[in-house]
Symmetry: C2
């Protein structure tokens, strides 16, 4: 059904239908919901009118670049709630609304049936229908027009009123009438809601963060992007699809940080890549030590060959040596003594960083310049940006800049690195970020993990916030990893990779189980790569790497569509608080994954699960197979309660594929 009707404003007092509480809807329609190409959007609303007349309605949607609205059915699901679904097939933005009207023909037909049952049909009762059918004929064309006109005149002329009534109740007539409703007094919901459609990677991605300058067998030598080509097979072999580089720009000299964040760097210390800008350029330049822009382009292409998309880190801040400081002093805040205000969180000072002053009167030029930074890298083939500390720049800026980029290239994905208060993080997601860092690094217990993920994978929040879980980052070595040894790393990997469809690790620190903090109580890494070059080409050859385990988990993610969404996460109970249990499934139950993780990295833990069998597509009476995709083991489970034992020294988790069995003619057979 694709017609030309457009939602119109109401002003006629005869529009009797009202439409309320249309969902999904973010902040009264202020922000769009999010989907990826191919996903359905299920829309509901309260739709009703005064009196007892029957109502019909439609779900309207269109891509904002389309002129015409597509229409699809809505159905009453009870308590005056109506529901319909459409699918988004193109990148960009769609809008949707609901239209509904009093359906006099449907009302008449319903009442005629009652009159017939009561033996009360009068000629005028039939005649009323004939008039409605005749009017529909006026709206129809071609064969339908004639068919309806014929129907109307038969009804008006058949002498036997019971025969006429039975004719009027035919399904064939109802089907034709359904195509020509009288929508002259239709109500269209006052709001047109929006959905931003991104590519699938916005929903499902596996990130590997890597310092390109460390792609060297020898820490005294700064690696180039040409060197980095050699590590692509290693990263691709682990099954990642996003290769994320910290900032690649020239690094400032003034107040450069030395090893372990010391204030006095050695001559050869490379500085923090987040202290952006030097005489060789700023945000649109490549650090000469990493090579040339041609090498950058080459690296992006080589990565793509390996199935890896390069993600760049965009950190909108400047070293004192950034060209902007001289060219646009008005973009920075000036202290009364004339100096430019460095970043600070009193009493802490970050003198190697100048934040932009977004309250500058020249804010429009600043916004445009920053937009052009993104566009520069888009021109160099980058389609994914990890944005550093977006919560220290205005929300209005993000909403504008993401929209500007998306208008040019709707396939660009933005990850928000905001570790701050929840409402600030949500607002950034509403403003347009595709994915968001989360509190996952600090959610360790079963209760914490469950409570947090229930919040971010359900309801309104799940319509715009896509969690991206990181067990570690260059800034965060959580205490759990510091103290839990190798099992802790395996546990956190499984959790990150199966709780949320987007996740990432900072490697090779992660797979090499690096867990020594700079000092007790700190979450900073000792000898952090933020401040020095590490010989990662040598490191990755070390024994004891978790790279095969990582590869296994990523393969499980790729092969099981249930793990590629967030909104399908359901927690189940276990009688041991050291165990966490949850499942994910595809809509049609063709793929069902049940995960059980031992959160205690030190001891064997066991307990009884209490799963909701309906979520697994089975029942509380049924046997089903739990096939552990990690160990390969197969267990016969029954109903709700099943016993598990997890030894962290072997594997701290089960990732079960649930295989239900079906009875065939002769014997049993397992679903695959």
């Amino acid at each position: 059904m694709a017609k030309k009707e457009r939602p119109a404003a109401q002003s006629d007092g005869r529009n009797r239908v009202v439409i309320e509480r249309m969902d999904p809807r973010i902040d009264c329609g202020r922000f769009p919901i999010k989907r990826v190409v191919g996903e359905p959007v299920t829309v509901e609303a309260d739709v009703f009118a005064d009196g007892h007349d029957a109502i019909s309605g439609l779900l309207l949607h269109r891509h904002i670049r389309d002129e015409e609205w597509a229409e699809s059915a809505i159905e009453h699901i009870g308590n005056d709630r109506w529901r319909g679904t459409f699918q988004v097939l193109k990148l960009g933005e769609y809008e949707y609304s609901i239209q509904a009207w009093i359906d006099h023909f449907k009302t008449w037909r319903r009442d005629l049936r009652k009159r017939l049952d009561a033996g009360q049909v009068e000629p005028a009762d039939v005649q009323m229908g004939a008039e409605l059918i005749d009017a529909a004929s006026g709206r129809a064309s071609g064969a339908d027009k004639k068919a309806l006109a014929d129907w109307a005149s038969s009804l008006a002329t058949i002498p036997n009123r019971l025969e006429a009534a039975n004719l009027a109740l035919s399904a064939e007539l109802a089907a034709i009438m359904d195509r020509y409703p009288d929508r002259s007094l239709a109500t269209t919901a006052g709001e047109r809601l929006r959905v931003v459609v991104e590519r699938e990677r916005a929903r499902f991605s596996s990130w590997y963060e890597f310092f390109p300058r460390s792609c060297t067998p020898d820490a005294s030598r700064h690696a180039t992007l040409a060197d980095c080509v050699s590590i692509l097979p290693y990263v691709a072999g682990m099954g990642f699809d996003v290769f994320y580089l910290p900032p690649v720009h020239p690094v400032g000299r003034t107040h450069r940080k030395g090893k372990n964040n010391t204030l006095v760097p050695a001559r050869k210390d490379p500085g923090s890549p987040w202290a952006i800008g030097a005489d060789t350029g700023g945000h649109t330049a490549l650090n000469p030590d990493l090579g040339t822009l041609e090498q950058f382009d080459q690296f992006v292409a080589e990565a793509a060959q390996s199935g890896l998309e390069v993600a760049l880190d965009i950190a909108f801040q400047c070293s004192p040596d950034h060209p902007y400081v001289k060219a646009h002093p008005e973009w920075f805040q000036h202290r009364p003594d004339g100096a430019i205000q460095y970043a600070e969180n009193p009493p802490k000072k970050y003198e190697d960083i100048y934040p932009f002053n977004f309250e500058t009167s020249d804010w429009k030029a600043l916004w445009e310049e920053l937009r052009d930074v993104f566009l520069f890298w888009v021109d160099h083939g980058v389609r994914i940006f990890r944005v550093d500390n977006p919560h220290t720049k205005p929300f209005a800026f993000w909403e504008w800049v993401i929209s500007e980029i998306r208008q040019r290239n709707p396939g660009v994905i933005f990850l928000s690195e905001a570790f701050t208060r929840p409402k600030v993080m949500y607002r950034l997601a509403k403003a347009g970020f595709s994915q968001s860092y989360t509190y996952f690094p600090w959610r360790n217990t079963s209760w914490e993990l469950r409570q947090y993920h229930d919040v971010v994978t359900r309801g309104e929040i799940a319509e715009y916030f896509r969690p991206n879980s990181w067990p570690n980052t260059p800034d965060i070595l959580p205490e759990y990893l510091q103290t839990g040894g190798r099992p802790a790393f395996m546990t956190r990997l499984v959790l990150a990779a199966t709780l949320t469809a987007n996740y990432g690790i900072y490697g090779p620190a992660f797979e090499l189980v690096e867990n020594v903090p700079r000092e007790p109580g700190s979450e900073e890494y000792l000898d952090s790569e933020k401040y020095e070059i590490r010989a990662r080409l040598a490191d990755i050859e070390k024994p004891g790497s978790l790279k095969d385990f990582v590869a296994l988990i990523n393969r499980i993610r790729r092969e099981n569509p249930a793990l590629q969404s967030d909104r399908n996460l359901v927690f189940h109970n276990a009688d041991n608080p050291e165990l966490i249990c949850y499942s994910k499934r595809t809509h049609d139950f063709s793929n069902v994954i049940l995960v059980v993780v031992n959160l205690d990295p030190h001891h064997v833990q066991s307990g009884w699960l209490d799963v909701n069998p309906r979520e697994l597509g089975t029942s509380s009476q049924a046997d089903y197979q739990a096939h552990d995709l990690i160990s390969g083991g197969r267990y016969l489970f029954h109903g709700r309660n099943n016993f598990v034992v997890l030894d962290p020294s072997k594997a701290p988790a089960h990732v079960f594929r649930i295989r239900r069995r079906v009875r065939t003619e002769q014997d049993f057979e397992y679903y695959l």
Copy 2:
């Protein structure tokens, strides 16, 4: 604080503060919330900005007839949520919003304190504050202007920076600065929300429904309104404040209904007052049998003398004899055979009633005519209307007509008699009805009563829906009353009168414990007053009347402000499902009522209550007195759990006033 600032639209990218989820708010601000004169409106919103700067904000409100916005404080209550309160003092409509801005002075002051603690104050740090103070001086006037200028210059010139910093942190400076914030980049919430303010009776009222034609000692004589003056002391003596009359207009002759809704009336049968209109007039005429308009005016005045306000029943439908039928045939639907469509719900027919056709092309004239019906009776002193079946007329009509009446007289109260689907009932309340009939007549068990009243007295619904509970109406003699005898009537009276602040009874059928249905399974009264005259002046002398019990309950309601609101209703547990327990309290705990009702009219029931002592203003360790305002008995309660026994043959309910005791110097004393 009353200033001239008006909420302004945002377009400057430097507006960094965002305001989200402002509450209370109905359907994204589409409808106003409701209050009565003198009540507070507590407004909350999420208010935050990027970064770490301090925020200040204000709650704005004004009566829509006022030019200027009043401003009051908002405070941060945690998790980026802010709250403020204003009071509505005038009838009509107010609007409210929130404004907030980055407070650079507050930020500077907070950081200066940290610098001071860390011994890191530099001259420029002090100087920055001096500049902010100087700028505030530019916004100030009079003594404040000079004081601020002096402060700025002292700070800029004091050689000792620690001394300067300490000066800058003075509370006096902060207080003056608070009055002159820089609001040039303030954000005002995009929505201006509205609150309709009614008079107190909209929130707290006790209705008595009475058929005026029955105010006779002899059923063969149609009483007049002049006769009705004699019953005013009886009704006022029971403590009611609204005297509600079914329609007072001429009654149609065509298809008039006889006794017990029969189709063939006797010559003297008076017909149903809801079959409105005859040759003597329609909705703006008085039934000549009831007297003249002068007598009507006189009756309204006499009622007022007795403390009773007259409420009229407005039923927008016509008997076939209504003058509109001839004068405005276009306002009705016509059947193909030329007849006007009578009301029907196939296969049932109501041939004595013609509904209006609100889809008429002449709808504007129809709306205006119906508005004028209200205005006619407003001109005759009526300020309360009970509207019959509003759910069979368009919502848009009600929204318009109530607004039209209120613009002329904001004191008019409308009660919606819609017994239909919940969303339809809520929508009518949103459209402007002051009070609404509820499902109370059919909520009998503890679970049903608790679940239903939790819904209608909390959250968004309680912001616009004021339940008015009726144990009976002329249309509804619930089965519980038919079977439960006198205790059932007492139980339902106590529930109606204490669960909700608005309630009513149809009398004297109620206090006379009339409980015989027309036939088994029917909720219609036998010999219903809808179709015949009853000799009520004789009836009320019958022994066994509950009138004294009704008077007692109404007195308890009047004397205890806790019972005059709905949003303060809290249920408590009891270990016997035949007992229901709930409390209401004033904001300051000066009046606390705890109600326990035995829902079983046949047996003594007893059980342990489990009350939340905090809701009673006491604690789980404390003794307190439960003073039964029905029996006069006083019980010493302790903490959460207390035992009660209720004998329905005596009194099926306790209405306790909770009296907490305070320890004085010498001994104990009870709060009154």
